[in-house]
Amino acid sequence: MAVIEQLTQDFLRTKKLPHIWCPGCGNGIVTAALVRAIERADCDQRDVVIVSGIGCSSRAAGYLNFNTLHTTHGRALAFATGLKLARPELKLFVIMGDGDCSAIGGNHFIHSARRNIDLNAVVVNNHIYGMTGGQHSPLTPPGKKATTAPDGTLERDFNLLELARGAGATFGARSTAAQPRQLEQLISRGAKHKGFSVVEALSPCPIAYGRKNKLGGPVDMLRNMKEKSIAVERASEMKEEDLQDKTITGVIYSYDVPEYAEEYYRAIGKG
């Protein structure tokens, strides 16, 4: 417990609490996992920058005791790209929600992946636009209801990690708010990875998503997340039809490819 208390003292702006999130929201669990991952990855507090977009999860930046940059909707990765190139020694964690990252920010997401710039994207996926009250996002599964899809969305959803892989991301991992230890480990591994890393964190939104889709309360949603979760090692031994409706967790891929900022400075003779 002593370690956790110390982390709370050092890495959280305790005076800014309580947070704005609804009861039962998973954002607090993901934020706590991020804090522990930063500690685990041995980052110097001075070098850590938290960049975020707009949405519920992006408000985490204000509660974290680092240099924090709360940007415009969808643009967090583009701000982060500029900052990383200006100061390659900094360690950037970019918190985005599912709509922020994959809809309005989709272009920046694929191009950050293509460049393989060393940014650590943590995408908090609650399948919904929470802050605006529950509209469907590109990560809302087909058929699920939202205020802008009252009869269930007809649109197909992205597989975020495969989208990133196709665009050139070199590290992709997934976990859920129901598995905070694993989430912590994955964010920490993403942080140590040189290049563009994406950690997708599935997170319950009982208020805007759970109620609309009759998924029960926060505990039910977390239990359900845990039950659906299959470790990537086990999934590789399973048939595809058995994996429908499952969440594959763990490090989905990790490749060793030159990192952009390092390559840039080497190319201009400053690396």
């Binding site: 709360h70 900052l83 200006a86």
Partner: protein
């Protein structure tokens, strides 16, 4: 200041060279006519200076990257034209709100929309003022020559740093693509002090007492930067008195340094009856008119050229209106600065607009003709 021999360069090149001279070492942009030469020049020059050039995926990202790099402590610039300027507006607003210095160049082309990409225009004057949402302050410079482009770019970078405020450079296609001689002075007196991470112990990123330096990220000052209304430490607030105070704060810094912000130049008769007020490439035609009417024929004619369009040079117009019978406002749009001139003339002088919006420059003859009956 000792001057070297003249160099022949294009307005867009002068903008890039001026920026480099002022210490800009980060450029993010997206290709668009007629501003592309600025990006090309930066791509060629910055790596050799240890700087960063990056072509981003779109205009929005370019603006964001520039702000990110500024927070990292670099001097930054991005350039675009018409449609790209529209796309940059959201993050320009962010830079104003978060008080992040940066320079945004818009080489104006004929709009609306895709318009005539290769034709000159001065149609973005009001967009430069009000393009981003909310009640924001803005600084906009508009050079009338290649030489002025070089110096106004330097001024823009320095002012942006000093006031922690984005500065817009509104070029037009004529100035951007014209080649002219520029005298590049020796020495390094064109730059303000570099920003430093050494600040007093009671440093606050948004000190309510007034201007405070931006301390780059990564030096142990764990402050928050947001586009939300914020307190002195950068943390979000919706408390009405703090919101009002924060909005006043970003406006007051421009008022306080008005002498450095509002730049105009008057030539001609000491007691003019007819004054031409204009900016950008149109100044060149107006200058030809004044040369003939005043220097040759001693007619009571003058020209006020506006290097600064916003904040609008209201005092200068008020003073002129008290002297002159008429103010003629030629501009390559349907009358954007005209309305401002009329407002600050306050009925003391007649204000007449002269507009052209066919993608061609306003000629000296057009101005002379408009002026004619007031001098007979």
């Amino acid at each position: 200041m000792p001057e070297t021999k003249p160099v022949l360069m294009q307005g867009n090149e002068a903008c890039a060279e001026g920026a480099i001279r002022a210490g800009v070492r980060f450029y993010a942009g997206y290709p668009i006519t007629p501003s592309t030469e600025i990006a090309e020049k930066m791509a060629a020059r910055l790596p050799g200076l240890g700087g960063v050039f990056i072509q981003m995926e779109d205009e929005i990202a370019s603006m964001a990257a520039v702000i990110g790099a500024s927070i990292g402590g670099m001097r930054t610039l991005t350039a675009t034209s018409g449609p790209g300027f529209s796309l940059k507006q959201e993050n320009i607003g962010y830079a104003i709100m978060a008080e992040i210095p940066c320079v945004v160049v818009n080489v104006q082309r004929m709009g609306p929309s895709t318009g005539v990409p290769t034709a000159p225009s001065q149609g973005d004057v009001m967009q430069a003022r009000w393009g981003t949402h909310g009640d924001h302050p803005i600084i906009v410079f508009s050079p009338a020559s290649v030489y002025e482009t070089y110096y106004l770019t330097i001024a823009a970078v320095n002012l942006s740093q000093k006031l922690r405020q984005p500065v817009i450079l509104l070029l037009d296609e004529v100035i951007g693509h014209m080649r002219e001689k520029v005298f590049i002075p020796e020495g390094s007196k064109l730059m303000v002090e570099k920003s430093s991470d050494k600040v007093p112990a009671d440093w606050k990123p948004y000190d309510e007492k007034g201007l405070t330096p931006l301390v780059p990220f990564g030096f142990g000052h764990y402050y928050h930067v947001t586009g939300l209304f914020h307190d002195q430490y950068g943390f979000p607030t919706g408390e009405p008195s703090q919101v009002e105070r924060a909005l006043d704060r970003i406006h007051e810094k421009l008022d306080k340094y008005r002498d450095e912000v509002v730049l105009t130049n008057y030539i001609g008769h000491k007691e003019p009856r007819v004054v031409i007020v204009t900016y950008g490439c149109t100044v060149r035609s107006a200058r030809a008119v004044v040369k003939k009417a005043y220097w040759q024929n001693r007619q009571p004619v003058g020209l006020l050229s506006l290097q600064t369009l916003w904040p609008f040079p209201a005092k200068e117009i008020e003073a002129l209106a008290r002297q002159a019978d008429v103010i003629i406002v030629p501009e390559m749009n349907m009358g954007q600065i005209f309305g401002e001139v009329e407002r600050y003339a306050r009925g003391e002088a007649e204000v007449i607009s002269l507009n052209r919006y066919d993608g061609e420059m306003i000629s000296p003859d057009q101005i002379s003709e408009k002026m004619g009956r007031w001098l007979s």
